[in-house]
């Protein structure tokens, strides 16, 4: 008769066990983190309240006493950062235990808002720039000015240009920026072995390029050029515009869409499409289709990043042993200028910021960031330990495999900004981990270093209209351009398109850019004068 009672008892026991598990692994640490250091934190906040700047409180708790466990929230990665070698290493090196939490891959922004607005406590947020802007706009972030003064190492080791993007109009600094190293990441890649076989020269102008495509099609019968880009940068360069959103003429900022070269470019692309000189699947290609066409040898050229080349080459070499890729620089326009964009994407890799609610642990977070940027620590978690993970050759870290791959592969996740003096060097260990990867990277960057070219003056720009309109407008342009290339829209509709682009926020976007440009002449000038990180490496050779 008591059978069900026994059953119920087992279930209740099971539930209790489960509750124990949950509490231990989630709630437990969180409260432990705050409770354990209650005294220090109270002292810290008391000091801050009595008019003292956070400076004093920032130094004291960091130097002595027990450090709190910090909760870190960042974007999705496919592995668990908590179990990475680098996580443990950094705990030893900085003395801070960090628990890593992550947003889901989908709807990350909404989830982030929800996490913060419902009062969940994270001590440190590592976000992409648009997420940072969103939170900064909502007033959810803690100004870091005083804490940064107290930890001067951060200013000394990070790229000074990055700070413009995280400083509010009232002077509040709301984040610690991680700025990308300027280098070339992608170019038009071609099959070196096939070019050698037929003795083709690398094209310099649009006409030469057109002849080359025709010849490839005639001689090989393969797809001369595949891709899916609305703006094929190599070809666009021949028509006098680049991938930057804005052009400046006598101080007037306007969208590149107003450049007459764009219409010519679209006409040319449509002609190539109609004549079958580019992939007939161009408008619908996905990354995997392009991968497939390149690694089966079905197509001869495409826009490639150096990171995609090793896979293609290895697949090709199973049937064509001497298959290899090299890159072509953007074509010269009517004035003989090549429009090279070494910075693919945003200047801001990430921004580290602190929610207002996490004020108590903020001094510890900033202290930890400073420690991670210190030269020795930075080397240890970016390149590894000398003799174990890398050996030095001419000051460049060369990975020791397989140890490097085992421990260091995901090290990049743990950056809290980068030490801009050391990171171009430590980063070389990443590109040297694979010979084919390195070869492709070296080829692109050494070719680029032979040319003088202008940088995007808006590289470090940040203005509200960018956050509001950029992504939607970019998508709109992408869709329309692909339609014109495929011939489903006539180029005669370009003026209508431009009008609808203006109506969809294009005018506001331009006005915002103009406003930013007028008020940030100095920063725009500095961006123009930027030097690629590895130029000296190639020019000297």
């Amino acid at each position: 008769m008591c059978n069900w009672k026994r059953f119920a008892a087992v279930i209740i026991a099971g539930m209790l066990l489960l509750t124990g598990c949950g509490a231990k692994s989630s709630g437990g640490n969180a409260t432990g983190a705050t409770e354990g250091n209650e005294d220090e934190q109270m002292a810290a906040s008391a000091e801050a309240e009595t008019g003292q700047s956070a400076t004093a409180s920032a130094e004291d708790p960091a130097e002595e006493g027990e450090k709190p466990t910090l909760k870190w929230l960042s974007n999705y990665v496919s592995y668990d950062p908590n179990s990475e070698y680098v996580a443990g290493l950094l705990e030893d090196l900085t003395g801070y235990k960090v628990e890593y939490y992550m947003l889901p891959a989908e709807n990350a922004d909404q989830r982030l808002s929800m996490e913060l607005s419902s009062g969940n406590s994270y001590d440190l947020l590592k976000l992409n720039y648009s997420q940072y802007s969103m939170l900064a706009g909502e007033g959810a972030l803690l100004p870091l000015n005083d804490l940064l003064e107290a930890n001067p190492g951060i200013y000394e080791t990070t790229n000074p240009l990055g700070w413009y993007g995280v400083t509010q109009e009232n002077g509040d600094i709301l984040g610690i920026p991680e700025v990308a190293t300027i280098q070339t990441a992608a170019a038009l890649g071609f099959r070196k072995d096939i070019f050698d076989e037929y003795g083709w020269e690398l094209p310099e102008t649009v006409d030469e390029f057109y002849q080359l495509l025709k010849e490839i099609k005639e001689k090989t019968g393969k797809i001369p050029l595949t891709g899916n880009q609305a703006v094929q940068v190599t070809i666009a360069s021949g028509f006098g515009f680049d991938t930057y959103d804005f052009e400046i003429n006598d101080g007037k900022v306007q969208s590149y869409l107003r450049n007459p070269g764009v219409k010519e470019y679209l006409k040319f692309m449509n002609q190539l499409y109609v004549e079958g000189l580019i992939d007939p699947d161009w408008p619908v290609n996905k990354g995997e289709n392009i991968d497939q066409k390149m690694s089966t040898g079905e197509a001869i050229m495409t826009h490639m990043s150096w990171s995609s080349t090793p896979n293609w080459t290895r697949a090709l070499q199973e049937t064509v042993p001497d298959a290899s890729f090299e890159s072509i620089m953007p074509l010269s326009d009517a004035n003989g200028v090549k429009h090279i964009d070494p910075n693919t994407g945003s200047a801001y890799q990430s921004v580290v910021c602190i929610p207002k609610k996490a004020k108590e642990n903020a001094p510890y977070v900033v202290d930890m960031v400073e420690k991670r940027l210190e030269k020795d620590t930075f080397w240890k978690f970016n390149a590894g330990t000398e003799g174990v993970h890398y050996t030095l050759e001419d000051g460049i870290p060369i990975p020791i495999q397989p140890k490097y791959a085992e421990d260091m592969t995901n090290g990049n996740y743990f950056q809290t900004s980068v030490n801009y003096i050391e990171s171009p060097i430590t980063w070389l260990s990443r590109v040297r981990k694979d010979d084919l990867l390195y070869e492709a990277w070296r080829d692109m960057n050494s070719k680029v270093s032979k040319y003088d070219y202008t940088y995007d003056p808006f590289y470090y720009a940040s203005f509200p209209e960018y956050d509001e309109y950029h992504a939607a407008l970019a998508q709109k342009v992408n869709d329309y351009f692909l339609q014109v290339i495929a011939g489903t829209e006539s180029i005669d509709t370009y003026d209508n398109f431009l009008a609808s682009w203006e109506a969809a926020g294009g005018l506001e976007y331009e006005a915002g850019a103009q406003n930013w440009y007028d008020n940030n002449q100095e920063l725009a000038q500095k961006a123009l004068e930027a030097v690629p990180a590895y130029k000296s490496l190639f020019v000297e050779q």
């Binding site: 509750t19 996490e115 293609w312 890799q349």
Partner: protein, 297 residues
């Protein structure tokens, strides 16, 4: 005395058979293709040469996936959540369905009305999130177990099944001195095994496939369920592509270390095995159970 099947019927059956075969194949072939990919070399997968048979046979992908800590962890999470969740869900559902199936329960209609009401209307995503948050269940297994632990639809199915059981059995048990709990656990439930198995399977599959729970309530990778892990792995490349168009992603780093397709295929294969193992054991109940409550609507 063979009954002659009319020609029309024959044609119908042939066409029917063909359609079903085609339908079956459209579901089976992608699965076989994935299986072949998971055993093929990465370069042949990349080149799109793999059809229904592996090319460049290897098992390294499986070794890799089985030593991938996040996969093991997520697999464990999903198994734990599925087992505990199904048990809890079945207890809750039986406890509600049984009384509601008895005519003598006072206010039965009102209770049913309330349940049907929440089936049709609920608080929505954000309020539910806030509730889970204020219950301190974020980043716990409970957040994955409790929200989907009671389905009104399943409860009504079970209630209808209970109603069909002959009342005389219950009455005689009552005469022998059995209480409500004894009747439920010793009489009603053993008689309802097909329904229990079917609804248990509905719940188990539901828990196993629960993806939104992870997206909504989990930020600690320790608690990430398998479906979320899988989804994020599979859509990784596509997401990177979209970010490239809008300029959100910077190619600078080796951030483009995407997971190779063959490993992806192996992960999908491995993660579908556990739930497939459950089917054969419940098969015999399943067919009977599918018509649960169908006589009484």
């Amino acid at each position: 005395m063979k009954k002659k099947i009319p020609l029309k019927e024959k044609i119908f059956q042939v066409i029917n058979g063909l359609i079903f075969a085609a339908l079956g194949l459209t579901m089976l072939l992608p699965f076989i293709n994935l299986l072949a990919k998971s055993f093929s070399s990465e370069s042949s997968v990349l080149a799109g040469r793999v059809g229904l048979w592996p090319i460049g046979f290897q098992t390294g992908t499986y070794r890799y996936v089985l030593t991938e800590p996040q996969f093991i962890r997520s697999l464990f999470n999903s198994i734990l959540v599925t087992i505990c969740g199904t048990i809890i869900a079945m207890i809750l559902t039986c406890m509600v369905a049984y009384p509601l199936s008895r005519g003598w329960l006072k206010g039965r209609k009102i209770f049913i009305l309330i349940f049907v009401f929440v089936m049709l209307f609920n608080g929505g995503m954000v309020p539910t999130y806030l509730l889970i948050n204020s219950l301190h269940m974020l980043n716990t297994y409970w957040a994955l177990i409790l929200p989907p632990a009671f389905s009104v639809y399943n409860m009504i199915l079970l209630k209808n099944f209970f109603e069909e059981l002959p009342e005389s059995v219950e009455e005689s048990a009552r005469l022998d001195g059995a209480g409500n709990m004894d009747i439920l656990f010793r009489i009603v439930l053993p008689m309802s095994l097909p329904a229990i198995a079917t609804i248990g399977l509905f719940y188990a599959v539901g828990f196993w496939n629960n993806y939104m729970g992870g997206v909504m309530y989990i930020t600690d990778p320790k608690f990430k369920p398998l479906q979320q892990y899988l989804y994020e792995l599979v859509t990784e490349t596509q997401r990177l592509q979209e970010d490239l168009i809008t300029g959100e992603l910077n190619l600078d780093r080796d951030a483009i270390n995407t997971v190779p397709d063959a490993i992806r295929a192996a992960t999908i294969m491995l993660s579908s095995i556990p739930i497939m193992l459950v089917y054969p054991f419940l098969q015999k109940y399943f067919v009977k159970g599918l018509v649960v409550g169908s006589v009484k609507g």
